[in-house]
Every structure is written in structure tokens, then in C-alpha cells.
Symmetry: C2
Subunit: 205 residues, 2 copies
Amino acid sequence: MLKNLSITEFLEKTASSSPVPGGGSVAALAAALAASLAEMVANLTIGKKGFEDVDREMKAIAKKTRNYRDKLVQDIDKDADSYKAVVAAYGMAKATDEEKLKRTTAIQEALKQAALVPLKVAGDAADLLELSGKVAKKGNKNAITDAAVGVMMARTAVLAALYNVKTNLNSIKDPSFVDSISKDVNALEERILQREKELLSEIDL
Amino acid sequence: MLKNLSITEFLEKTASSSPVPGGGSVAALAAALAASLAEMVANLTIGKKGFEDVDREMKAIAKKTRNYRDKLVQDIDKDADSYKAVVAAYGMAKATDEEKLKRTTAIQEALKQAALVPLKVAGDAADLLELSGKVAKKGNKNAITDAAVGVMMARTAVLAALYNVKTNLNSIKDPSFVDSISKDVNALEERILQREKELLSEIDL
């Protein structure tokens, strides 16, 4: 599994001409990195003098970010697997009309799944953007740079995941699916660009 | 070494209350991920029908991005080490005037080094932003999403590394060092925000 590769091996495998892991897995990893940074800042705040008022909130954030990290590290593989399923569907037999229909249906199902996986990653990363903003504002000031990096990694995770959603939507033939997801994508994209700006402007190094 | 940890272990270690790896190492990793994605798109273009005109250029890009990847994966550890050196300097004896002077000098030297490491990462990531833009424009269209993710990861790597430069500059007492680096930081920050927008606007999914 990709999550068990070393950093060096993961980078090597990404760089190779094998199409996975690609941008979708990197988006999930970026979100997991944002989760780790927010968790770190929360952990560096819990129990610290002068931060008694936010101790309970930081403990809750550490727990939440931990859960996101555990989920997102799985999504690195999930995204790669959903891409492989699309490739497998395209490779199905298409000699008879029955085979053709079966293949087309399988492709469309696989494409929907390959759009939904990064859409979920984008939603989780959007939550992590807000959690990173919270630890930046209320957490240990010595770690404010780490919180800022968390905000930026979460922003890029959202946008990167949404690019992966959009590229799959391009091949999906179900107009109501495409319309509904496209609306979510555009709204989230716009919101995240705005929120990153707001959160970073509040961070004073 | 951090680069030999598995993805899961690296995330775990980042999330812990130990201050390294932190935002600086994550910035270097983000830049290395951008390098890997640009290299992948170049590799998916080399030798492909219809891309004969850019074959030589893609081979050059694959080589360059490979070199950046090798450098940047080392910077993950280098950044953590430079932070540890700052902490070690702060921990030096300060009983006598001589010890105090020695300690202050060591702290200032360590802080300069801790600013220069991410400044170098930011410069490399800025180059990778342009290389990602090039493979997005001229490379295999099937991998254009990967190139777009490369552009965004490079952008966030630059900005994240520059936050780490700035936070160290805050404690450096040498005004000419601070002034000169601050100018570089501000110019690079402004340029990268602009270039990401331009490059992404040229990418049509």
C-alpha cells in the first residue's frame, strides 16, 4: 500500500510514468499533512501555561485532526484504486453489444467513484483549513508558522482534489450527477480561495 | 532520517508534540511532491505519438525535476536539523559573560542557517512552479490534472517555506542580513501568487 512506502519511495513512484499515484493521491497526502500540522499545534498547546482557557478546545481539535489524518492516509490508496478501476473498466471486452453495454456501465460507475473519492477529500481538507485557522488563532504562538503552513496545505489539498473531481466529471454522461457535483465543486472552490486569504491575513508572524 | 520514514510514520511524527518535523520539512516535502508530479507528466509525454516536437524538452524537464526531487527530499531532514541546531544553541551555558557571548553568537548563526535552508527550498519550488506550468502547457493532456496539482503544490511549497524564513528573521539581530533577505522574500511571495494564477488560468480541463 502507498501509505506504507517511505517518503523517498512514494516520491519515486509518483515521478515514474506509471499513472498512479498521481495528483489525486497527492491531494489526499496534502490534506493528511495539514491534519498532522494542526494536530501538532494543538498538541503543543495542550497543558501549556497561559493556554488553560483553550485546553479543552485544543484537546477536541487534536482528536478531530487525528481522525482526519487516519481517514486521509487511507484516501491516498483509495484514490489510486479508484483510478485503477476506471482503467480496468476501459479494458473490458467490447466485441458484442451486450459486452459493450456492460463495459460502458462499468466505466460510468468507475468514473463516478473516481469523482466521489476526491470530492470527499476536498470536503475533509476544507474542514482542516478551518481547524488550522483555529489553532493559528488560539494555539501556542511558537508554532504559528506550522499552523500557517497547515492552512496553505489544506487550501491546496482542496483545490487539487477538486481538479481531480472535475477531470472525471468531463467523462461522466449522467447530467444530473454532473450538474449537482459541479455546483458543489464551484461553491467549495470559491469559498476556499476566500477563506485561505482571510485566515492568513489574521496570522501575524 | 525523515525521508526514510513511511508516509504513515512521517504523518504521525509531524502530528506529535515534538516540534520537528514541522512546517519547514512539510514545505520541502510539498516541493518534492511538485517535482515528482512534473517529472511524471514529462515521463508520460516522452516517446508519445503527437509529442515528437517536445520530446527533447520533456527529457530535459524530467532530468531537472529528478535533480530537484533528490535535493528536496534531503531538505526535509536539513530543515529539521537546522531547527534542532537553534534549540541546541539556546540550550548552551550562560553563567559567565564569555559563555553568554558564545551562546548569543551560536544562536544567531543557527537562526541564519534556519532561515537560509527554507529560502533555498522556496527558490527551488519557484523553479518547479514554472516547470509544472510547462508540462501542463506542452505535455500529455491526459496528465494535465497532475500538472495542475504540481503547480499548486509548488505554490504552497514556496509560500510555506517563506513563512519559515520570516519566522526566523524575526529573531535575527543583523539588520543587513534581515533587510536583504526580507526583500527577496517579499518579491518572491508576490511573484509566486501572480504566477500561480496565470498558470492555472491557462489550464483548461
